[in-house]
């Protein structure tokens, strides 16, 4: 087990370092001048080469790439994560302020995906090729096919016309005002949750259909167990393993999707901060947020791997 953990941990670390190198290099070779956002259109047009050299030095962009990379690692080690090019705010403060909203959206979306996806998958599997199965499969494919940002825009318009929904103009934390906080996160969570719920419904249906034909399920039925107990107690736990696996992968989609969905709903979370930073070419903010997303994604997948043994006692880590 310890060996497995060590191996898994090293692999995760390698992945994160790989991501950090890619994002670090890509951000520095992409076209576009970060000084446009810093100085504005008029100021940028009046900047002399000498001014440019000084400002680039102030921002740390005139150092060699290895020096910049080591400085970034040092900032990560100190927990400050570096400062925004522009206002000088630390990325840590940005994450602490906006991160909770994005985390709530991701967790709620995951809950919605399970709450909606699993019953739909079970319903679909216990009466395969029936009317309920056809309807649930239609909606599953629909929600998989529809892009998140488009569904978000539709939902925003519907909420606007029917309920007078207005996008939030401030971050409201859960502990400050739970009701207002829920108003902010519920829309994005539903959009992201339904899309992931569709995957879970599809996966749980196919896994359950396989398991339901196993001998031990037939035995349970032969022993006179009611159908509900057969499905929920005997078949479902064994069918869940691939569903749990896909949930880890889906969290990646939730994180990626939240960038567009937060933007569509006007939610001031980390996804929106990332979009703004990309537009401003605030390299320090972008590289730290991408790394954070990568860390979460890798971390969740390690946890998913470790959960296999808990879900299926036959699995042993070596």
């Amino acid at each position: 087990m310890q060996k497995y953990l060590l191996r898994r941990g090293l692999f995760a670390l390698g992945t994160v370092i790989g991501v950090s190198l890619i994002v670090f290099v890509v951000l520095r070779i992409l076209p576009g001048d970060p000084l446009v956002a810093l100085l504005g259109v008029e100021g940028h047009s009046k900047m002399t080469p000498a001014d440019r050299a000084i400002i680039m030095k102030d921002l740390g962009l005139s150092d060699s790439l290895p020096v910049q990379y080591v400085r970034w690692l040092r900032d990560i080690a100190t927990g400050q994560l570096g400062k925004s090019f522009f206002r000088g705010d630390t990325v840590r403060d940005l994450i602490l302020h906006r991160g909770p909203l994005s985390a709530e959206i991701a967790i709620l979306a995951l809950i919605i995906s399970w709450v909606v996806g699993l019953p739909v998958g079970i319903l679909s599997a216990i009466r395969p090729n029936g009317t309920a199965d056809a309807i649930t499969r239609f909606f599953s494919i629909l929600f998989i096919a529809v892009p998140n940002f488009w569904l978000s825009m539709l939902l925003v318009l519907a909420l606007l016309f029917w309920f007078g929904y207005k996008s939030p103009i401030m971050v409201v934390q859960l502990w400050e005002n739970p009701a207002q906080n829920l108003q902010i996160i519920i829309g994005p969570a539903i959009v992201l949750g339904l899309a992931q719920g569709a995957y879970i419904a599809r996966m749980s249906r196919s896994c359950l259909l396989e398991v339901i034909r196993e001998d031990y399920v037939r035995t349970a039925r032969a022993k006179g167990a009611v159908e509900r107990a057969v499905v929920l107690r005997h078949a479902l736990p064994n069918a869940l393993l691939p569903v749990v696996t896909i949930s880890g992968v889906l969290l990646g989609f939730v994180l990626g999707g939240s960038v567009a969905v937060e933007q569509a709903f006007g939610v001031p979370g980390l996804g929106r901060a990332l979009v703004t930073a990309i537009i401003e070419r605030d390299i320090i903010v972008v590289q730290n947020l991408v790394l954070l997303y990568a860390l979460i994604f890798v971390g969740v997948n390690v946890l998913v791997d470790l959960s296999y043994a808990w879900l299926d006692p036959r699995i042993r880590y070596q």
Partner: protein, 553 residues
């Protein structure tokens, strides 16, 4: 030659319009003249009362905090209320130049020396007294920024030689050559030139980009700020202008220009005053009871540029042909739900020196029926050797909604009218300037701005040889000579007489194609009093909220 206080009483009364209003206003001015040294501003309405909170929606996500180095409302919107200027535009009409930290000023008869007399007892928010040393530090920096500090308005002060302070409350600007008085006073009154403490500059190596709360002398003081959300300020109880500000508190929310967030926040009553609204929300606001929706002219021209280094565009006939083939009335219509615009030529269309609208619309290129202009454009293309048009032009487009809409429309117009084929290349703003700066384009669409309405500002910046916003790389010796003379001529009537010739040169040898001139839509609930933005030139000079008051808290 002493300047009366306020600077232009006649123009102010004219702008107010009605005789009745003038009768009510005149006593206030007479007081101001009689007590020039104690000139104090107050709201026009005698019912103005203190108290209340104004929730203001504006772009409030500055890239940095150094107002001098900025060119965006993201700085002035939230920061201007905390600072004062040397002299200012009257917030009640937006135009008249009135005292601010200088209570009076003198201009030497030869126009080469400006002396400002500063108020005594003005305190910065940290308690230090404002003296001429602070004013000199502020203007030394604006006029001649240190290395690594870029101040877009420095070019307004190129004639300023020495800045001297004979005593703690006097500052003198000595010019190396004369400049028109209106131009210079307009430059001093620019909203960007906030007065900062010398100590703030000294402590930060002359760079305030990452200093969020450097002390000002303004009517409001910093309380708190959440990045890209809200900046909260409170009344400065020690403000030198007794009775101002009326408001107890300002809450400035980050709501981007033309965004649905801004429109919906205003329409749902989350903010009391919205600036730079999208036309759709603004039209809804206009129909709402208890709401006033206003429009003002903005200091921005939307245009597309030619790469003069590439062969077809070195020929003025080709450039004029493209200029004539661009239907400006359609351009305004294309973006009518995205951003408010108006038709104009090469000079601010609302400036008193430019061709009046009726006259402009008789000219080729500005007529509502474009047939004659297109015929002329075809002739010009044929004469230039391109009767069959041009192929594969690289048209670089800034990734903003209005530019993308226009680019598609221009592409279609040029193809249909002149058989000029172009490929659109949409790029992020940061990349657009790289492409434009390195000449990697045939056509490129963007917006350019000026600080003043006076042509001497933008004739240099937009059309000047090597001008910072002359992205076409255009040159025309006759025009440059004329612009040089215009900048140095102090007789306003002679300056005005130069404009028609300048326009003629620009029409026939276009440095760019004017697409549209921007407008700004504001809306506010009628409980907000004391602000009339209809006469403002742009959104940068009057943003302090000191004469604004709330009819209901």
């Amino acid at each position: 030659m002493a300047d009366p206080v306020p600077h232009s009483r006649r123009s102010f009364l004219k702008s107010l319009g009605v005789a009745g209003a003038a009768a009510g206003v005149a006593p206030a001015f007479l007081r101001g003249r009689a007590q020039a040294q104690d000139f104090q501003l107050k709201a026009l309405d005698p019912a103005a009362k203190p108290g209340g909170t104004l929730r203001f929606g504006i772009l409030n996500a500055p890239a940095h905090f150094d107002v001098h180095q900025s060119g965006t409302i993201a700085n002035l919107g939230p920061q201007a209320p905390m600072y004062d200027l040397l002299i200012r535009r009257d917030p009640r009409d937006g135009n008249t130049i009135i005292p601010d930290l200088a209570y009076k000023w003198d201009v030497a008869p030869d126009g080469k020396r400006y002396t400002f007399h500063l108020r005594k007892g003005v305190k910065f928010h940290d308690g230090a007294e404002m003296t001429s040393a602070d004013m000199k530090a502020t203007y030394d920096r604006i006029v001649r920024p240190p290395k690594g500090v870029v101040i877009p308005r420095s070019s307004l002060f190129t004639a300023v030689g020495d800045i001297v302070t004979p005593d703690a409350y006097t500052i003198e600007f000595r010019l190396t050559e004369p400049r028109p008085r209106a131009f210079m006073l307009g430059a001093f009154a620019s909203g960007w030139n906030i007065v900062v403490r010398k100590k703030s500059l000294d402590d930060n190596g002359g760079n305030l980009r990452q200093v969020m709360n450097f002390p000002g002398t303004g009517p409001f003081r910093h309380v708190s700020r959440k990045d890209k959300e809200v900046w909260i300020q409170e009344k400065n109880p020690n403000y030198w202008n007794k009775g101002l500000p009326y408001l107890d508190r300002l809450e400035i929310y980050n709501l981007p220009p033309f965004s649905p967030e801004l429109g919906s926040s205003f329409l749902s009553g989350k903010v009391d005053y919205a600036r730079i609204m999208d036309p759709v929300s603004w039209r809804k606001a206009k129909e709402m009871p208890g709401v006033t929706a206003t429009a003002m002219n903005q200091s921005v021209i939307q245009a597309y540029f030619f790469n003069m280094k590439r062969k077809p565009f070195a020929d003025p006939r080709v450039r004029r042909a493209l200029h004539l083939a661009t239907d400006r009335h359609v351009m305004v219509d294309v973006v009518k739900d995205t951003a408010p615009m108006q038709v104009g030529g090469f000079v601010y269309p609302f400036h008193e020196w430019s061709a009046p609208k009726a006259e402009l619309e008789k000219r080729l290129g500005y007529q509502k029926d474009p047939k004659a202009a297109i015929q002329e454009a075809k002739k010009l293309m044929a004469a230039a050797g391109y009767p069959n048009g041009l192929k594969n032009l690289d048209f670089v487009v800034r990734d903003l909604a209005s530019f993308k809409l226009w680019a598609v429309a221009i592409q279609a117009m040029l193809k249909e009218n002149l058989n000029v084929e172009s490929n659109l290349r949409v790029v992020q703003t940061s990349q657009w300037f790289e492409e434009a700066g390195s000449g990697n384009f045939d056509l490129a669409i963007s917006a350019i701005v000026s600080s003043l309405m006076d042509p001497s500002d933008y004739f240099t910046a937009w059309y000047g040889k090597g001008g910072p916003q002359n992205y076409s790389g255009w040159t025309n010796e006759e025009f440059h000579t004329l612009a040089h003379n215009l900048e140095r001529e102090v007789d306003e009537s002679k300056r005005k007489a130069m404009i028609p010739r300048a326009e003629e040169i620009l029409e026939n040898d276009p440095p760019l194609v004017p697409v549209a001139w921007e407008q700004i839509y504001d809306a506010f609930y009628n409980r907000v009093r004391g602000q009339n933005a209809t006469k403002f030139f742009g959104i940068y000079d009057v943003t302090r909220w000191d004469t604004v008051w709330m009819a209901q808290s």
